[in-house]
């Protein structure tokens, strides 16, 4: 299963290609570039918060722009394109088709991302990743705000086109000998997350247009001065973005479903329960969006409904955790780098979920909402679960993509440092939230507990930063000079049995 030709080709041949592995490679390079760019912004934020007072960044406006672009970048330009990279490489192979269903559309979806990204980065807006009106209408400076709106519009369309392609590839192009109940869980995860995208994104697309016309002053949907309602925007936004958090996490879970059984040298404990949990999660994803809005003045009944909807999603997530543990149970586990990332990711997934339950319980949310707790909560997912699963999978696919092996020791060092760093940053941020520190603040009063927690978090972030430099060096060096991989069994697991879904791609 060699995913990329080993003979070097000129870059423009890859850029103008529509073949799924080439588009996958483009997605991969783009997403990793933005991982490092967005990560650099995070380090700037953490450095500024190391001490009260202005040190590194200097003024609040720049700080606000930095955290806005940080969040937007890592969600839309790292996590989503990374998943598309993996999907492009593996989904056609797993359903035994020669390419994606619509190769040209696939390339178009990719090439929409750079202009969207350019708008976000050149504008550098300041209204946070959810552009809450009326701030975003009456107060946020243009043209940055307008560029962000257009950028997100383009990224949203790209996401929808990509999702459409995955759905058709999986449902219509899979090999006739293969039933949908035989498609590997990684491909299932793309089916589930793509369906969520198709249902969820149009709502935000509409909200963005309304936001734009509100900013132009020709409408007043969300502007109270013109009789509009800003809370309506919150509903539209979260109707898209609560399900979207599952769009982000489901492919990462799918990647873990590839890694865990291989390196445990056992079949997956229950394939059916994996599918069931994906499908269930895609449905209940739509029942909980207003748990982000308890403090907007919702009635008791509304809050209760959305709390129940939120708690209903927990068993489905918990099923995945069970499935992973049961698969590892009694397995002959080999802790190579990908396995370490996957297992670390599952541990953090569990901790993050426990914190989510506390948020969802409505009286507790009034202690945690919009405090650093929330920052800690969702970063345990986006960094601890999604980035961990993704990076683990990157190490896993590395030999298949490059034909060479990465340096195992540095891979493990990367994991250990990132794992410790992640715990230092994001567990601490939960505590910081309980001490009452609001999120999205450029500066804070010198309360001793706040200072201590901020300093631990900053040190953790620096540890992650250093580990990412090791990672980058390892990837660049090994892809050119690493030792040649045995592509039949690069991880020395012994026997082809452990790669059950290896199917020859007719093009290779």
């Amino acid at each position: 299963m060699v995913l990329e030709l080993q003979k070097p080709r000129p870059i423009w041949q890859i850029m103008f290609s529509t073949h799924h592995t080439d588009v996958g490679l483009l997605y991969l390079i783009l997403s990793l570039s933005f991982l490092f760019m967005g990560g650099a912004l995070a380090l700037a934020i953490r450095a500024e918060l190391f001490l009260p007072g202005a040190q590194i960044i200097g003024d609040a406006m720049t700080f606000n722009r930095i955290f806005t672009v940080h969040g937007t970048t890592l969600i839309f330009l790292f996590i989503l394109p990374f998943a598309s990279a993996v999907g492009n490489y593996f989904v056609p192979i797993m359903v035994r088709y020669k390419d994606m269903a619509y190769p040209k559309l696939n390339a178009i979806a990719f090439w929409m991302i750079p202009p969207g990204a350019a708008l976000v980065w050149l504008g550098f807006a300041d209204f946070t990743w959810y552009a809450q009106p009326p701030y975003s209408i009456i107060s946020a400076p243009g043209p940055a705000a307008d560029m962000w709106i257009f950028g997100l519009k383009i990224l949203g369309v790209s996401s929808v086109l990509g999702a459409l392609n995955f759905v058709v590839t999986i449902l219509k192009c899979k090999h006739p000998d293969m039933s949908i109940g035989q498609v590997p869980l990684l491909a299932w995860s793309f089916l589930a997350s793509s369906l969520i995208i198709l249902v969820a994104i149009p709502t935000f697309a509409a909200a963005l247009l309304m936001l734009l016309t509100d900013r132009l002053g020709v409408s007043g949907f969300f502007n109270p001065a013109m009789g509009g309602d800003p809370i309506a925007y919150s509903h539209l936004f979260w109707f898209t973005f609560h399900p979207e958090v599952y769009v982000l996490v489901i492919p990462a879970i799918g990647m873990m479903y590839e890694i865990i059984p291989r390196f445990s040298r056992k079949p997956i404990y229950s394939y059916n329960s994996g599918i069931f949990a994906f499908v269930l999660l895609s449905i209940v994803a739509f029942s909980s969006w207003a748990h982000h809005m308890y403090a907007t003045g919702m009635s008791f009944t509304e809050k209760t409904v959305f709390m129940v909807g939120t708690l209903a999603a927990v068993p489905a997530s918990a099923m995945h955790v069970f499935n992973f543990i049961a698969t590892m149970w009694n397995g002959r586990i080999k802790f190579s780098t990908p396995m370490m990332w996957a297992v670390g990711g599952i541990a953090l997934f569990f901790s993050a979920g426990a914190g989510g339950v506390a948020n969802a319980a409505m009286p507790l949310d009034f202690a945690t909402h919009d405090s650093y707790w929330v920052v800690g909560h969702f970063h345990l997912f986006v960094m601890g679960t999604i980035a961990f699963g993704s990076i683990g999978y990157l190490y896993y696919m590395f030999p298949y993509v490059t034909g060479r092996m990465y340096n195992e020791t540095f891979g493990k060092v990367h994991f250990v440092m990132s794992f410790i760093g992640t715990i230092l940053v994001f567990f601490t941020q939960h505590i910081l939230g309980l001490y009452g520190m609001p999120r999205r603040v450029f500066d804070y009063p010198p309360i001793p507990e706040w200072i201590a927690m901020n300093q631990i978090a900053t040190i953790g972030a620096m540890i992650i930063g250093i580990s990412m430099i090791i990672f980058l060096a390892n990837m660049i060096y090994s892809s050119g000079k690493g030792k040649l991989a045995d592509t039949d069994d690069p991880f020395g697991l012994g026997g082809k049995y452990y790669y059950p879904f290896e199917a020859k791609n007719p093009k290779h």
């Binding site: 809450q132 907007t296 319980a361 009452g436």
Partner: protein, 143 residues
């Protein structure tokens, strides 16, 4: 894929569901009690704007930034905003409610100690959001 039984998974799922029902029921009950505003609560209007708080008491007096209440009495805040969304927060008393322009949200509390507490804005509202702070002064009961 065969050769093992699924009962541990069923038990596990049942435990998770039971836990969630318990969390939900407890939360529902607690929130119901917390939301019950005492009838004799004194009303204080809280007006947020970029980037300070104005408090208006029942007798019509106003203060900016500093909020004065008496220990042992109940207060109901009627919160609104003049410009963008803010969030009125006295973290020590878990008082948190968004200040939304065009709406009045209410939340109540009854301070029990005699000291000062921090008031802050918990919803991003622009340039000086980080310093949209105030002070709650809980004083000895006057009567």
């Amino acid at each position: 894929m065969s050769g093992h039984s699924n009962w541990p998974e069923w038990i596990y799922i049942a435990v998770v569901i039971a836990l969630m029902c318990w969390v939900g029921a407890e939360a529902w009950n607690a929130e119901r009690l917390v939301e019950h505003v005492p009838a004799d609560a004194e009303v204080i209007k809280v007006i947020a704007q970029q980037w300070f708080w104005t408090f208006e008491y029942e007798d019509g007096t106003k203060t900016i930034g500093d909020l004065y209440v008496e220990s042992g009495k109940a207060y109901k805040f009627e919160i609104t905003s003049k410009d963008v969304i803010h969030s009125f927060n006295i973290h020590d008393y878990v008082v948190l409610m968004d200040a939304v322009p065009g709406r009045v949200n209410t939340v109540w509390f009854a301070p029990t100690d005699v000291r000062t507490h921090d008031i802050q804005c918990r919803e991003y509202c622009g340039l000086i959001h980080y310093n949209m702070r105030g002070t709650l002064h809980v004083e000895e009961p006057s009567s």
